[in-house]
Symmetry: C2
Subunit: 172 residues, 2 copies
DNA sequence: GGATAATACCTGCCTAAGCAGTAATTGTTC
DNA sequence: GAACAATTACTGCTTAGGCAGGTATTATCC
């Protein structure tokens, strides 16, 4: 049973979290892409490189899931980065379906050079924020994401064939 | 001079506001599109209809700016909605360049029917949030958006040829 | 008031994401 | 261990957004 933060009778599109986040996302992208465009990179390309740097992701699959990017599209982006000599595909014997991505030296240098610029943009976006506000903002974003993730996971699940009838009202 | 919320030396991609917002946006879209898909609508189509309902936007231009959607792409989406008889283009004599969009009766009914479902999804996403958390979250999102908007506006400006170098502080 | 700039919308083209289907490898079950 | 299912990555096709240019209308400036 979800709280009635919004009500159909008083709902206005401009106050929707959905809208506010969409707008934030769009503008944040514009701001960050100023950093990448000059160097001939897109946001997704930077993300891949920086995630490899941080060791967050190693396989294309990881990036697909965490960044919610299309698998097919990702293959092509990885191709581009590989063509430019910024990373390499390695197939491990352990599980030969998986591809392990490794930054080359050039790739590492490229990311490292961009990170300070990205950090600068992020700080610029948060200029007016106090330390506490940033903390709280990140906490709430994470909370929302966790919730959304579990919502989507349960939707994707193979339907709860059990007696608890898939309720039309209270969506699973 | 922006605060150093992030530092290049300790920056990790997974803590970036940019990433968290991108992810939130992506998942929120997935959740909402479950509502629209069945009825043959996309998010942008719903947005147009709901904004016309609320009177937020009247001209395509308004929607372009507020929703940060491409002008060319928007024309085609409006075409689709017009073809389906959900809205009409009206040219006013006052300024014959502008197009005024008007919901038809069918259009209004369509939006009204979808709004409760959207509201439900939004509430679901915010289930774990207290009223205060939602308030704070919306406030922070708005604050970020305002800041990003002014950053982009000043970047887009024709370069401050004058001595007073583009005032980063006071946004337009 | 006539030339020039600016605005609003539309059109064509290109790129990239979304989707479905395929191949190769691994896991599972009897 | 052989058949079947699941996983991982890739490929082709479609669709829609981003971008540049075009047209009609209005605003500006001398």
């Amino acid at each position: 049973m979800s709280k009635q933060h919004y009500q159909a009778s008083t709902y206005k599109a401009q106050n929707s979290v959905g809208y506010l986040i969409k707008r934030a996302h769009s503008m944040m992208l514009d701001v960050l892409e100023q950093v990448f465009a000059d160097r001939g990179f897109s946001y997704i390309q930077y993300v891949i490189l920086s995630w490899l740097r941080d060791g967050i992701a190693v396989n294309p699959k990881d990036i697909c899931i965490q960044f919610r990017h299309d698998s097919g599209a990702l293959t092509r982006v990885i191709d581009q980065l590989a063509d430019r000599g910024l990373l390499e595909r390695v197939r491990r014997d352990r599980d030969r379906r998986k591809v392990e991505l490794q930054l080359t030296e050039a790739g590492r240098e490229t990311v490292e050079a961009m990170i300070p610029l990205v950090v600068e943009k992020l700080n610029l976006a948060l200029t007016d924020f106090s330390t506490e506000e940033v903390q709280e903002f990140l906490r709430l974003l994470l909370k929302l994401n966790t919730r959304l993730q579990s919502t989507l996971d349960s939707k994707a699940a193979p339907a709860p064939a059990a007696d608890t009838k898939a309720p039309a009202g209270s969506d699973a």
